[in-house]
Amino acid sequence: MRDNPLVAFLASYGPSAASDSLADEHVQAAVDRHGVRAIQAPAPKLAAMIEALLGDDPCSVILTGTAGDGKTYHIRSFYLGVAGGDAKLWPGKEGVLRTSLRGRPLRIIRDLSQLTDSAKADEIEGVTRSLLGEDRETLYLVAANDGQLLKFWRDASDREDLNSARRSRYEAVLRALTDMLRRDQEVPEGGLSVRLLNLSRTVTGETLDAVLDSILTHEAWESGCAHCPQATSAANPCPIRLNRALLMGFGPDGSDVFRRRLKEVIRIAALNDQHIPIRQILILAVNILLGDSKRRDRPLLSCTEAQKRARDHDYARTNPFGNALGLNVRAERRRALTVFSALETFGVGSETNTALENLLMDGTPPGVAKAIEARDPVYGGGLFRQRLKNYKEGTDTSSGTSGFQSALEAQRRRLFFLMDEPHGGGPISPWRLTIYHHAGEYLTFAEALSTSPLKNPTLVEPITAKLVKGINRTLTGMMVEDTQRVWLARSIGRSDGAGGRFTSIDPVARRAASPQRLVAVLDPATGRPRLQVVLRSPRQPDVASAPLELRPLLFEYLMRVADGSLPSSFSRQCQQEVRHFALAASSFIQNHFTRDESEALPILILSVGRDGVIQSRDIGV
């Protein structure tokens, strides 16, 4: 019986060290070796490249992104698919590929870091001329990691004499690019003629779906498994096909919750500035399907091994929910892989609460337990029923990694990836199995803020109220209940932990007739919600203070503080961020309202009343 070549082919994308160097070039070789169609990775920025390079007013394009984001893939797709380039010339021996685009010269640098120093020195002036608009004929298409990119211009300017014209031109480009990168801007606000496309900011749900679909719906799943008896066995299903079905959502109720949850987790990680490149998504998908923890030196299944696991009913080794977290991979290797180190921070498996433990141990509430069991009997009851019985009867004698605790953790992971999110939160929520208890609300909040005007104000309102409460508690150090206005409290000494006992600024209300208000908005560049103080004045554009960026971690912190707990592990960083926001907002308000230097500011001493509302007393002059 012949193995499915797709399995071996997919393994080349897996979590082994070799896949680190699996750049675009090497994929071609793997395709030839295994004789299956390549995985179709999406090129989400191709349209933007076309628009920039072939638009009415063409300009150069710089692609940045983390290693594995698909920079080279984008460029190859453009060169071969759009610019009509000669496949025989790709990628070329030199670092710079010369071609033309609608009669204009186009110079392609597919990896800036591969250029020699002298080649860089040859190119810098040309690229600079194009970016500064001094040369409107020649176009450049450049790919580089962001750090490399900035270094390119910094080194160039360091080579020039102080005060020379060239140096100041290079510095101007460096400054503009730094600013664009930092603010996640694709289009410069002025000065430069360029599109800066950052592939690290573009992993959306669609990209993920495209990658997963390309793997899961590959035609070789049908042809390659046609003659395998395991493929159709109901009693001993092939673990690879079983995992594929779970990931696709082929269960009895057709739920695709596993895939959805993965997308949510990756989104949360990205909003926490833990970007996961496309290549890492491939590793994740392949590992879910093929992961195997029998032998640490061979973390992926072959067809033969898969058949063996099925025959032995050894599904504990092929658990896709453990594979999703990379548990089949050696710890040091796992930590080196962005995707698994990012997922590890969620704490899936160790985090839990009483209601969820009851669900796992006692099957209550039964409705929820039944629905989940129906989705996947193999990795649920199949692995756990007997263990649980023994444990309850006191006959379980296992310990260590095969102990009951490990089995329970495996069930928590499965639960996290398989259970639906209830409406309106509550303790039986998958997010209670992570450190991000409020991730569900976070995603809902971000989603609700993305429409203007708000489609769903009733969703936004209570969450904003809780955030405000969390901020007030953080700044004052008191258990206050105010949800409608923020007190920008501070202390005179800067010693840690000292709560703010006074302020010179009236509280900033969320809704009021006053010109300054606290608003929640979505940052279009990052997709992240933020809070900021906005000032409205007639006939002038709105002015906003430096925002409080609501990363999922900070959101979680504020929600928990509002609920009355203090999550010690990440408190300090979050407190600092809230404090910086408060100081910046205070100065912002003062600078806009104190017209006269001699104007006396009040000194409002803050205290908390019996109802938890902040009271202030002016002891100023």
């Binding site: 983390t66 290693a67 990691n145 962001d146 750090g147 730094t178 600013d179 990168l181 930092r182 690290s200 500035d273 970007h275 962005t338 803020l449 993305s450 203007s452 708000l454 104000p457 309102e461 202390s491 005179i492 000494g493 800067r494 000292a498 006992r501 006074f502 010179s504 969320r510 809704r511 009021a512 208000r517 608003v519 929640a520 908005v521 979505l522 940052d523 103080v533 906005v534 709105d542 002015v543 906003a544 430096a546 300090r572 960083q573 600092q576 961020e577 910086h580 100081l583 910046a584 907002a585 205070s586 100065s587 912002f588 600078n591 230097e597 000194i603 001493i605 002891i619 100023g620 002059v621």
Partner: protein, 551 residues
Amino acid sequence: MAATNANSELWLSKGALAVPENQRIHALTVWCDPAIWGLALYDDQTPWFTLIECLQLLTFRHRDRKELFPGLGGSPQASSHERQSYRIKLNTNLRHLLFRDQEVARIAARGGANDEVRWRQWLERTVKDFPDLDLSYLKAAFSDDFAHFSEALELLRSAEVEQFGAKRWTSRHLQPVGEAMLFPDVKMKDDGFALDRRFFQRTGEILYLMLNRSADRALLEHLVTMRVLNADGPWNRIARRLQGPDADATTDEPKWVEAPTIGYLPVPHLARYDELARDWVSILSQSTIPLEDALEFLVRLSGLHQVIYIAERAVDVSGRASLTPFVVEMSGSARNNPVQILSAERYKAHKMLPSQAVEAFVQSYADTSEWREVGTGPMDCTHAKRLLSRRFAWTPKRTAAASGLSLPTDQLQAMLDAAKTRNHDIGSTFTVHAKKIGLLTARQRAGTWYSPSDSLLEALVLANVDGAIELGQFLSILRRRYHIVIGPEEARTQSGELPVPLEDLRENERRLEERLRVLGFINRKSDDCAFVVNPFAGGHVATGRLVHATA
């Protein structure tokens, strides 16, 4: 030393300015440390006290409408040391209320009584205990509200700096966020107060002199006036209300003490002065940083520059090539950590620098013909004693052998030994101040090494980051401006070698990033690029339409 000796005869380090004639140096053990580093960088004058002393001088000049930073004295061709004097308001009423009164809080806490009773009780008690004080103005100043008065006092007390260690009430100080919050460091005498310089030994005057000789002094004049001296924030107004009549005391009233001279700073111009002033300009230019915070950053940075100054000056005077950098360890833990070991070694080496400089300084005199021509006879011994007295203000202890004076070389050696072993020497200042500003960490058993506090990191970021810069750039600035080495790039010697394994330095750099992230100063863009950001970069005009506003 004999009072008749002229300051002009003191031995000077190379390039140093002559010591003004009115400079009082009689209290010195020996003219070595002051000749090299100035008069004086004092270990017990903590960084906050240094800033406060500096602000006393500036406040006086501002009040007297004098230019704050006129630069060196003399003419541009022949510059001479600054000669200044200044007066400090005693501010006794406020100081009494804050640091000597025990009754206000007690009476305020007592329930039941009405305001009228409380005021009466407190005023009667005060008159009885302190007949010289008249604090009756307070009742009206606080509109009869005793609780209000007590609250204001308590709030102001929370602004005390350097609270630790028992000090007399006339040596306790507030964060100087306003003119009314300044006090002199004085001793009570029968007829009032005297500036005894128990803690304030002119380290703040040295700070002033450094700023006064910097390239940026004109810009600084403007910024210090605007941001610091004209500041009349809520704190200052509370303080003024508590001061009562003291608030408007003019300098001809007996409510002031006089500092007739200021410290001595030997070298007219140094790059270090300019770096110091640059940080002042940078911090004070950021209007988003509240004054309270800005002053704390200035305290840390000024202390840091003075610590570096001590090391740099020592290197110069002892004729070494350059200062070996401060290898700064980021974990604060000594376990199995080559960076920590190196850092501790560097500290030990730096600590030796001052005594090497003192040796070189004394040697520079021993090499003169004036000294070499001294013979070994009894007359020569007397002559040598006179020379050392004139040049170094040095008088040997009376316990010398009954047979008379020792040989000139022995006298010189005895002086050198005394210079190197005296209490409160410059090496002690180096260590104490480096600890106070958060550059140096000491752990029992683990030793002493350079490991920065969060507050120092914060000050360094805010002084050096305008908006955002790449982490690598930030590290290179720290190396260039402060001799601080954290990662492999900066640790590399000129021949390209690393003093500790690459991996350990990378780990050290990674820890710095982690600590800056926790402080809210890092914006990592990818595995290849992280920005150090200054969160106080002000609000900006919102570009485009806000995506959505909820109220």
